[in-house]
């Protein structure tokens, strides 16, 4: 019990536990798969910043992941073969989408916010599939070949694994720093009671917009890494039907904490990778699990560990 409390207070310890956990997990199962898990965890972290910390449930967060994935893929295909430039391009693209949609979206909250995100995700999915099909390859997507950069070789799965792990640690570190600063406390205030924060003289609109764009940027970063990992980008990266996955992962781990997000991401990926082998009706299982979470298991895995 005391150990858990100590773990929560020390950022270095959290990061160390995440690193060690993924290295052990990765080398005891399959590196290729765990790279995927790590990238998904980055995505969950970005989502948790919006949902867990600020209390805005987005139902179309795949849009921003897809923006990052397509930004990277398009840059790598048409502009330059430099991998890092491509990743940067993807991140900036995601941030730009967040910056454009943010001012409209962020004025709403609750159901409106969730559904508007879903609607924009639908538009994004449609744009990729039909009007921009000449550039994005439509249904087939874009397949790429990343060669490497100086001593880095991205066809080597071990290097890719550590690149993703370092990215995850970086994002987790950033989020810990953010949420432990006055800005993080302000976010909690917005989640609990926005009117009062406004009343205290803070411009909540600005903080909400910053958080939203930050969240989309992190999602886009995860998208960029996904493209790098799979060597392709296809419409399933932006499919609104998959938006529920990240919500499920966030809730399962426990919303509002970095460790919760990482545990949720890893747990969801484990379930979705290994369970469909045994369970034929995967969506039905996901639905039942979501119902149980919504009614009985709201604190998530980490929330329960914390209370022991």
């Amino acid at each position: 019990m005391r150990m858990i409390k100590r773990l929560e207070r020390s950022p270095t310890l959290i990061l160390a536990v995440i690193t060690a956990g993924f290295i052990i997990f990765g080398y005891s199962t399959s590196i290729l798969k765990i790279t995927d898990f790590i990238i998904f965890c980055i995505y969950v972290l970005g989502y948790d910043l919006l949902y867990g910390h600020m209390g805005r449930l987005s139902f179309g967060h795949m849009l921003y992941l897809g923006a990052g994935a397509y930004g990277t893929a398009l840059c790598a295909k048409y502009l330059s073969s430099n991998v890092f430039l491509a990743i940067l391009c993807g991140i900036l693209f995601g941030a730009a989408i967040g910056g454009i949609l943010g001012p409209i979206l962020i004025r709403t909250k609750g159901a409106c916010f969730a559904l508007l995100n879903l609607a924009f995700n639908q538009v994004g999915h449609f744009l990729v599939l039909v009007p921009l099909a000449k550039i994005t390859g439509g249904e087939d997507g874009i397949s790429l070949h990343f060669t490497g950069y100086r001593f880095l070789d991205f066809s080597n799965i071990h290097q890719l694994f550590f690149l993703s792990l370092i990215s995850l640690i970086l994002v987790a570190f950033l989020i810990i720093k953010f949420t432990h600063s006055p800005y993080g406390i302000l976010l909690k205030g917005i989640k609990e009671n926005e009117t009062r924060v406004n009343f205290l003289g803070y411009n909540t609109y600005r903080y909400k917009l910053i958080t939203f764009v930050l969240s989309t940027t992190i999602a886009a970063f995860a998208g960029a890494l996904t493209t790098l990992n799979y060597n392709y980008a296809n419409p399933s990266f932006i499919d609104p039907h998959r938006s529920v996955e990240v919500i499920f992962a966030t809730l399962m781990g426990g919303a509002g904490s970095v460790l919760g997000a990482v545990i949720g991401g890893a747990a969801f990926m484990t379930i979705s990778n290994y369970l469909p082998r045994y369970i034929l009706r995967w969506e039905m299982f996901l639905g039942l699990a979501l119902l149980i979470i919504a009614f009985k298991f709201r604190k998530g895995i980490w929330g329960y560990i914390r209370e022991i």
Binding site: Y51, L57, F59, I104, R107, T108, K109, G110, A111, C112, A114, L115, L116, L118, A119, F120, Q122, V123, F126, L127, V130, P131, P240, H241, V244, I247, L251, R281, W282, E283, M284, L286, G287, L288, A289, L290, L291, I293, A294, F295, R298
Partner: protein, 277 residues
Amino acid sequence: MLQTIFYGLTIGGILYIISIGLSLTFGAMGIVNFSHGLIYAIGAYTIYAVMAKMGINFILGAVIAVLVSIPFSYIIEKYVIRRLYGESIDYAIIATYAVLLIGVDAIKWIWGASPLPISDPVGISIQFLTMEMPLYRLIIIGLTLLILIGLSLFFKKTIIGKIIIAGLGDREAVRGLGIRLDKYFAIIFILGSALAALGGVLYSPISTLHPYMGFHILILCFAVVIVGGMGNLRGTAIAAFSLGLVMAITGRIWGPAAEAMVYVVMAFVLMIRPIET
């Protein structure tokens, strides 16, 4: 052009029939009900099963489909929606979405994932001026108008309707009068769901059936509800018909963009108008 407007009115009418339940559920209970899409799909698949497998005619099939949907919506109301009163809206979204997921998978289990067609049950077209109008679409528009009038009478004249309207305005005051609002909200939930099933029945001959059809139409209906104002019945009607026209006109100019245009219009409406909730 006249034909485009006519098609738009058909789509608008169907959107209205489906959205009304969503709008009421949202206005009355503050719940975003994703399981509405499931009821819609149940309506459509039931009529397929009844017509194609048992050879029953369309009108009787429609009645059966609506009746079949009622126990489902009753179960959803009793075991999911009722537990969500007063909860955070996030859990409402997640729980009803979970119901939709389970239902979609059950549909895939029973009927398979591939799209199924239903033929036009009337099959006659009427020559009007220079254009040709399928009679079936005319019937849809007529039926929508009937429902529109029926609902407005229901909310103005009957005591149940009046209680619900009062409950939409001020929940606490109505409860203070000793009225059990939950019961009335359950009634309109089932009424709204039955209309969704009817919407599914009416729309299936124009489009095709596929397991995700509920999810698909639901996003459109959410756009209608957001544009029309949540819990605002007249706004929902106006929004449904205008967005139906937007879809038809865009579809005439460039087919694939029809649905995307709805969301663009919605974004513009939201930018201009301040948003409640």
